[in-house]
């Protein structure tokens, strides 16, 4: 029997890299045009003002850094709910190093502090097989108490220092494209549809940006490159997908998991250092304000991918920035924005005949639309809540099929299975 065996060939399913980038660009443009429309309709000029954009980036960065941290850990198969705690340690160590040796030392201090507690998490989960959630929660709890204790030891009695804050840390320098601010500002002031919006966006992006922000933004493509284009990244992802398979090819599973979790801590710590050296100029208690958790959410809704988590973080940063700058009026306009965006997503789902998601999206879109139409402004008590609600609803509904690493959160023991 030497008949040729027929093997039906199937096309590859994963869209090529270029396609994905193009699609992302289209979506970004769509979102932007929607915003411009909403601004025109509601007159809430803050929606696309340079100030909002500039703040949004600043607010998105710590969330995004935490999310990147989560990415490295979970891609290596370790659930990291301790990101918040690692970020807190990052803020403390940044404050401690920063007031003595300057802002860049603060950055290194934050990275080291976060990495140190990443190491603790790795030790607990990888070496001792502790449940990942329990270890993470423990780190979060310890972080609050430990930093307070450390502050009382190291900061109390110094100038500006105390049990809940560090002495001042100089801020990191800010840069911008020279000469861009003036003309763009004028253009923005005209409130022309799309043109002024674009001017606002560009001015927000290219003037008065912290050096650390630039670094942080560059970390997103860097993470993609490292995880998807290098052997190290492949090995790291493989232990999160199938540690037994990785082991069987000689991949040092424990080492890779350690690497992922320590990098994770370092990134969360860097997020903490960002808060110290870009915003507050010192370590403060409760400075992180749950950004570690929000970062985790952004990573999950970003489908454990750098591009997705960056989009999620940007959305969180943007809505938060609106709330902080303009309060309830801008937040009210946000409802219309969400309604339109969800309607677009509903149409997309409808076109591809995915009726259930389409229905859910349509209902959500109508819901936001009705609330927008019947109210004049969001009640003050709800103002802080709406940005998060909008972000979560949009992210949750926009994410088509979330796929977490197959062995994420599972204990792995060498030589057990297989």
């Amino acid at each position: 029997m030497t008949a040729v065996i027929e093997r039906p060939a199937a096309p590859p399913v994963r869209a090529p890299w270029r396609d994905r980038v193009r699609r992302a660009a289209i979506w970004a443009a769509l979102v932007f045009v929607t915003l411009a429309v909403v601004r025109q309709v509601t007159g809430a000029n803050a929606l696309t003002s340079a100030g909002t954009v500039n703040d949004a980036i600043g607010l998105a960065v710590p969330i995004g850094l935490a999310a990147l941290g989560g990415l490295f850990s979970e891609r290596a198969g370790v659930v990291n709910i301790g990101l918040e705690g690692m970020m807190i340690f990052g803020t403390w160590f940044a404050g401690w190093a920063g007031y003595q040796w300057g802002p860049w030392a603060a950055v290194l201090g934050g990275i080291a502090g976060g990495a140190l507690f990443g190491l603790v998490h790795a030790l607990a989960t990888v070496t001792f097989g502790v449940d990942h959630i329990i270890s993470g929660v423990a780190i979060n709890i310890i972080a609050v108490g430990a930093t307070r204790y450390l502050s009382s030891r190291f900061f109390l009695g110094r100038e500006d220092g105390g049990v809940n804050q560090s002495p001042s840390v100089p801020l990191i320098g800010r840069v911008g494209v020279p000469g861009a601010g003036g003309p763009l500002g004028t253009l923005e002031g005209k409130h022309w549809f799309l043109v002024s919006d674009l001017a606002g966006l560009l001015r927000g992006l290219f003037t008065d940006v912290s050096l650390l922000t630039i670094l942080a933004v560059l970390l997103v493509p860097a993470a993609f490159w490292l995880l998807w284009r290098t052997g190290f990244g492949l090995r790291l992802r493989s232990v999160g997908e199938s540690p037994v398979a990785a082991e069987s090819l000689g991949v040092p599973v424990y080492t890779m998991k350690y690497a992922g979790v320590v990098i994770s801590g370092a990134l969360a710590g860097l997020g903490g250092a960002f808060l110290v050296t870009v915003y507050d100029g010192k370590f403060l208690e409760n400075q992180t304000g749950g950004r570690g958790f929000i970062g985790l959410a952004a990573m999950i809704f970003g489908n454990w991918r750098p591009g997705g988590l960056a989009a999620g973080s940007a959305l969180f940063g943007y809505t938060d920035s609106l709330r902080l700058r303009e309060g309830s009026a801008a937040v009210h306009a946000l409802l219309l924005f969400a309604a339109i965006l969800l309607a677009i997503l509903a149409i997309r789902a409808g076109v591809t005949r995915r009726w259930i998601p389409a229905g859910a999206l349509a209902v959500a879109a109508v819901g936001f639309g009705v609330v927008f139409a019947v109210t004049d402004q969001v009640p003050a008590v709800l103002t802080p809540l709406v940005p998060y609600a909008v972000t979560l609803v949009v992210l949750a509904l926009a994410a088509k099929r979330l796929r977490m690493p197959a062995a994420d959160g599972l204990r792995y023991r060498k030589g057990e299975t297989g």
Binding site: A3, I5, R14, G231, A246, L249
Partner: protein, 511 residues
């Protein structure tokens, strides 16, 4: 062709006095194995005899309690597979070692030293795939592949690494004869290039055909090593089990009148809109076994999944004992009496880290004896697991050990035993005797016949022609998502069947 036994030079691999114990089990006891350079050496033995354990020790996956390993005359100590790979040893494991969410290419190059260069890897995979007729597409996600394709990727992984000693732990269990022939052709080629092959299989005729020498293990120790030319399958079976070879013979027909499974105009499309299954019609009556033959990837897996309700269908209707179940969810179908032996026991049939009795509950969560009302009945599940262990000869220290502690064949027996529990109406069986030894195969065949006599309808998907011809009342051939032939297993020959499977011969489609 046979390697010259007087050839100079040390053996390619020499294992001496290997002992390995697991809690409650001695897997290997003082095992010796000598493999000459350039030979194809087979290892045979019952399920749980310790073959896989021995191979994993040689590959550095398990560490022996005592004993020595020498590769090309040099003593080695492997602390991990990385060490073994460096010594030029490659292994295809009994169970797939693939990450579902990575592409074929990523799975192949994983763990290799040096720069990660996808373009170069793609070229190299293409070359190897063409040269050895593996038909592997480097950019697909492994998740979407069936067992046959996964098996070929595993083989490719070893070839890619340029191993000098290749261990193949049951590489042919899910391959159809044509694919097996191809593989053996390749093995001959590899041996001609001076490679050494260590090979495990329960298909004894296959073993005798390709091996130069055969080592038999029984209960963890070496029984003997024989020249392949000097034994018959019957003698080999005797050495292994002390028993005789089974033949799957259908006893008198037990087919009744009432139709258990009716499938009408069933079509399944891929996400991209391609037809995976088009207009399949089929009916299985109570007491009837309908065998599905075909090269893997021609729609068998989709048919099975559509019947189980785990894959959405584009058109068509499915009835079970006269009731339309097309819109039913999987749980309801299972409760209505559909048993399911999946093609990949580890991925779809078992929770590896959970004890056997919990695995007994899987798919039977709502039915006695594993549940009482809304509660799980631990006692009932444990007792029934003990029954399965005894009835199907599952070798295990108890029902509390996790499923991963069972040898591959024993895992299979457990799954088969579970799926025949609770008197199902319909059994959807994909490769039901995959990886079980000749004795256990005879046992499972007997159990299937008994259940059939009691009115069970069986859809049997198998790569084993002997099994298909021996058990089926009706035989259907699938090609490119269609049923292209309906044959009488009593009259058709394996050669004819092979022609239908590859599309050389055709027949008007009969629904």
């Amino acid at each position: 062709m046979t390697a010259d036994p007087t050839a100079p030079g040390p053996p390619a691999v020499e294992l001496r006095g290997i002992t390995k114990t697991f809690p409650g089990v001695v897997a290997n006891h003082d095992v010796d194995l000598e493999v000459r350079a350039g030979e194809v050496h087979a290892v045979c033995g019952e399920n749980g005899a310790g073959k896989s354990t021995l191979m994993k020790i040689l590959y550095g996956m398990q560490r022996p309690d005592s004993g020595t390993i020498a590769v090309r005359g040099e003593q080695v100590k492997f602390r991990s597979p990385a060490d073994a790979i460096k010594s030029g040893i490659g292994m295809v494991h009994q169970h797939f070692m693939l990450a579902d969410n990575l592409t074929v290419l990523e799975n192949v190059v994983l763990g290799l030293p040096g720069r990660f260069d996808p373009a170069a890897a793609r070229t190299r995979i293409g070359e190897l795939s063409a040269r050895y007729g593996l038909g592997v597409d480097p950019d697909r996600l492994v998740e979407q592949l069936g067992v046959g394709e996964r098996q070929r990727i595993e083989i490719l992984k070893v070839l890619y690494r340029g191993a000098r000693v290749i261990i193949l732990d049951e590489p042919t269990a899910v391959l159809v004869p044509q694919e097996v022939d191809e593989l053996f052709g390749n093995l001959a080629g590899l041996r001609a290039e001076g490679l050494t092959v260590l090979f495990i299989s329960h298909k004894l005729d296959e073993v005798i055909r390709v091996a130069d020498r055969i080592t038999v293990l029984r209960q963890g120790t070496t029984v003997t090593t024989v020249e392949a030319g000097s034994v018959t399958t019957a003698q080999l079976a005797h050495l292994m089990v002390g028993g005789d070879l089974p033949t799957p013979e259908t006893r008198e027909s037990t087919v009744r009148d009432e139709v258990t499974l009716g499938v009408r105009d069933l079509s399944v499309r891929s996400d991209a809109g391609r037809d995976l299954l088009s207009g399949v019609g089929l009916s299985i009556r109570a007491g009837e076994v309908v065998g599905i033959a075909g090269v893997e990837g021609n729609g068998q897996a989709e048919l099975v999944e559509a019947l189980l309700g785990t894959r959405p269908i584009a058109t068509g209707a499915v009835t079970l004992a006269g009731e339309d179940i097309t819109a039913w969810p999987t749980s309801r179908r299972r409760e209505a009496g559909i048993g399911y032996i999946p093609e990949d026991r580890q991925r779809q049939g078992l929770l590896l880290t959970q004890p056997l009795w919990e695995n007994r509950i899987l798919g039977h969560q709502t039915r006695p004896p594993s549940s009482r009302g809304v509660f799980i009945s631990r006692r009932g599940a444990r007792k029934d697991t003990e029954r399965i262990v005894a009835e199907f000869g599952v070798k295990t220290p108890g029902v509390d050990v996790p499923a991963f502690a069972l040898s591959g064949g024993n895992q299979q027996k457990l799954v088969v035993g579970r799926e025949l529990s609770g008197s199902p109406k319909l059994l959807v069986a994909a490769h039901p005797t995959r990886g079980v030894d000749v004795g256990a195969q005879a046992l499972i065949w007997d159990k299937l016949r008994d259940a059939r006599a009691a009115g069970l309808a069986v859809l049997l998907v198998s790569a084993d022609l002997e099994e298909l011809l021996g058990l089926s009342d009706t035989l259907k051939v699938m090609l490119r998502g269609r049923i292209v032939a309906t044959l009488d297993p009593a009259t058709v020959t394996p050669a004819e069947l092979g022609e239908y499977m590859t599309g050389v011969a055709t027949q008007e489609a009969t629904p």
